[in-house]
């Protein structure tokens, strides 16, 4: 037994010797290129801002804080390959990410091997935390609440019974659409159709299906990402179909308006787990700093990434204190992060035993006709615990 202990200590010492004693790195993983870069970049910049602002604080503790952004290209293979690189940089003590649940799930298995803590600002698929990995946390909501929130709003408030449901054939889109359908049917509504498509340019066959669908759908629900929904809406409206449209948080990007066109996008409903700046009074000052620094508006995922990074930093500070001012191990950081209770921009953040935020917020929004994403109307905010949490 002692021999093994010595060996472990030896390996750990070697690891420490490789890393620099006073540098702490926070990694981000999100798509920085390709179709979903607009959302992924918000995550990176939000985390970067939080890290920049904490640098002085950590300097006082004797550590240099560095942010290392990784591009997972929204692809699980790339995400896992990056994760394998990340766990081998002993200075990286926390990860903010990912955007796509399909990437987060396999990548977090890799982080789990070394107890590297991950705090997600955007992964809504229930399985992300349902695996009960001690290192995986998220501050945003879950699709098994987000989908139902959308369905309830559609059924109760929009008085919609027949819905044409489309999804993008990804882990995220299909999962969300299925949750939407379940709740809609439980309420007494009807899914006129449930169609998946990977198509990115020619949506005509689906639009024709919508036109032919009986009973006539009163709402179209699209579980997917803005890059696909944007051109879809444009073609839909061009062909004179005026049926209302609803989507999930994948639609929550100003790029949606650019791709769909201002007049076509206007009036679209969407649910999101990452509310806009206008929903959080405290976020206003941060959003101004963000705009000044990066020349872009801070959108929902930027705010959540900012909070995610701050959760990790808070955990880090606690772990440093507990370790007597020395650099903590990844395991200590992971434990400390699970214990964090803090007031972020988005409200109280506190994790349950699975790593879900004890009370996550869900937002129902409507796209404004001005074409300015920040003008979008906040219809309602729902605060809810994750299903099945104690």
């Amino acid at each position: 037994m002692r021999k093994i202990g010595l060996l472990v200590a030896g390996v750990a010492a070697l690891g420490m010797a490789l890393g620099q004693a006073n540098v702490i790195k926070i990694a981000t993983q999100s798509p920085l290129s390709g179709p979903q870069a607009a959302l992924g970049e918000q995550i990176k910049l939000g985390a970067e801002l939080a890290v920049e602002e904490a640098k002085a604080r950590f300097k006082a503790l004797g550590f240099d804080l560095v942010l290392v952004p990784y591009d997972d290209q929204a692809n699980p293979d790339v995400g896992v390959a990056n994760a394998n690189r990340i766990i081998n940089d002993p200075d990286i003590l926390g990860v903010v990410g990912h955007l796509n649940s399909g990437v987060a799930i396999p990548s977090s298995e890799v982080y789990a091997r070394v107890n590297l803590v991950m705090v997600s600002p955007a992964n809504t698929n229930p399985r992300v935390t349902d695996r009960k990995l001690p290192n995986v946390n998220r501050i945003c909501g879950r699709d098994d609440v987000q989908g139902p929130v959308g369905a309830q709003y559609a059924f109760n408030n929009l008085k919609v019974k027949n819905v044409f449901i489309i999804h993008d054939k990804t882990a995220y889109g299909q999962g969300l659409a299925e949750e939407f359908r379940k709740r809609l049917e439980a309420l007494g509504g009807k899914a006129v159709a449930f169609v998946g498509t990977e198509e990115t340019s020619n949506f005509v066959p689906i639009i024709n299906q919508i036109r032919a669908a009986r009973p006539v759908p009163e709402l179209i629900y699209f579980g997917g990402i803005y890059s696909q929904i944007g051109p879809f809406v444009k073609q839909l409206r061009e062909r004179g179909v005026k049926t209302r449209l609803m989507g999930g948080d994948g639609l929550d990007s100003s790029e949606f308006v650019r791709l769909a066109g201002k007049e076509n996008a206007a009036g679209t409903f969407y649910t999101t787990v990452a509310g806009p700046v206008s929903a959080f009074p405290k976020a206003k000052a941060v959003a101004e700093r963000f705009k000044k620094k990066y020349g872009k508006d801070m959108e929902g995922f930027g705010i959540y990434a900012y909070d995610s990074a701050n959760v990790i930093l808070a955990g880090l500070e606690a772990a440093i204190k507990a370790a007597g001012g020395k650099k903590p191990t990844r395991e200590q950081v992971a434990q400390a992060v699970r214990q964090v209770k803090m007031e972020g921009l988005t409200g109280t953040i506190e994790f349950d035993d699975k790593g879900d935020n004890k009370k996550a917020k869900y937002f129902v929004m409507q796209v404004a006709s001005t074409g300015n994403w920040a003008d979008n109307k906040l219809i309602r905010v729902i605060e809810m615990a994750a299903p099945g949490a104690k």
């Binding site: 870069a37 169609v195 990115t200 689906i206 890059s227 944007g230 062909r239 791709l259």
Partner: protein, 322 residues
Amino acid sequence: MLEQILALLPQVIFDGLILGFVYAMVALGYTMVYGVLELINFAHSEIFMIGAVVGVEVFRYLAPQVESGFLLLLLALILGGAVAGITAILVERFAYRPLRKRGTTNRLVPLITAIGVSFILQDLVRLIEGLWHNEFFLRMRTVEDLEGSVELFGGAIFAQTKSFILMGVSILMLLGLTYLVNRTKLGVAIRAVAQDLHTASLMGIDPDRIISRTFLIGGSLGGVAGVLFALQYTTITPYVGFLPGIKAFTAAVLGGIGNIPGAMLGGLVLGQLENFFGTYLPILTNGNFGTEYKDVVAFLILILILLLRPQGLLGQVVKEKV
């Protein structure tokens, strides 16, 4: 169910026609190059994409200056066709010609080169657009003149102005090409080279020049198709060429590769098939198999045709040269 299908049928056929014309124009590029060089020019799908990108850029920069939407489109078609055609020539000059000059007998070599060129062009365009506008998705600017729509046959068909433009331009290009190949000196030369490159060169035809022209013609057609595609479907990316490219090649094979009327017919047939199955599969299978299987159906049909009629719909049986 039948009622549902019939109610929609005119619309589906009309939309299939639009897609079919795009495939037909792209398929011509494949078939002409194959006719001359027996090479599947994988890079042709990127030539198509470049045409679409040029179209988007022309609309982006010239829309404020040019009043008439039709004039703007004409400019976009000319520029798109020209840039695409020139790119095709450059690809031939710098990637395929060196192989030909070396006289490699292995047929995999040019094919693999073509795949490589295709990848290079995709990422080059992505790089350029990234640096230029920081955009991955390029959106065709909406121009008022081209946005009209009418309902035909008592609402059975919903048709947009731009759909008619697409069909009109395609038909003109296809007729023009038929004339060019059958009635001009260049056409005779192209056909001669296609029949036997070596003998043609003995007859005083410079094969390099003819091959270059073939790439120019095929490339311009692809570029024009790209502009029209962008106009019709509005959003494109640097990787947008891949699937239409593969399908257009399928169309070329369907019609009989190397055969120009065959490529047109193949394109139109494939457009119909894809649109038909894309729309009706969920209805026909009661939602069990959805729209996403439309490409599966297209490929299965390709295989069936190749097995039952390897020379394609209009192709002739060619004895392999030994």
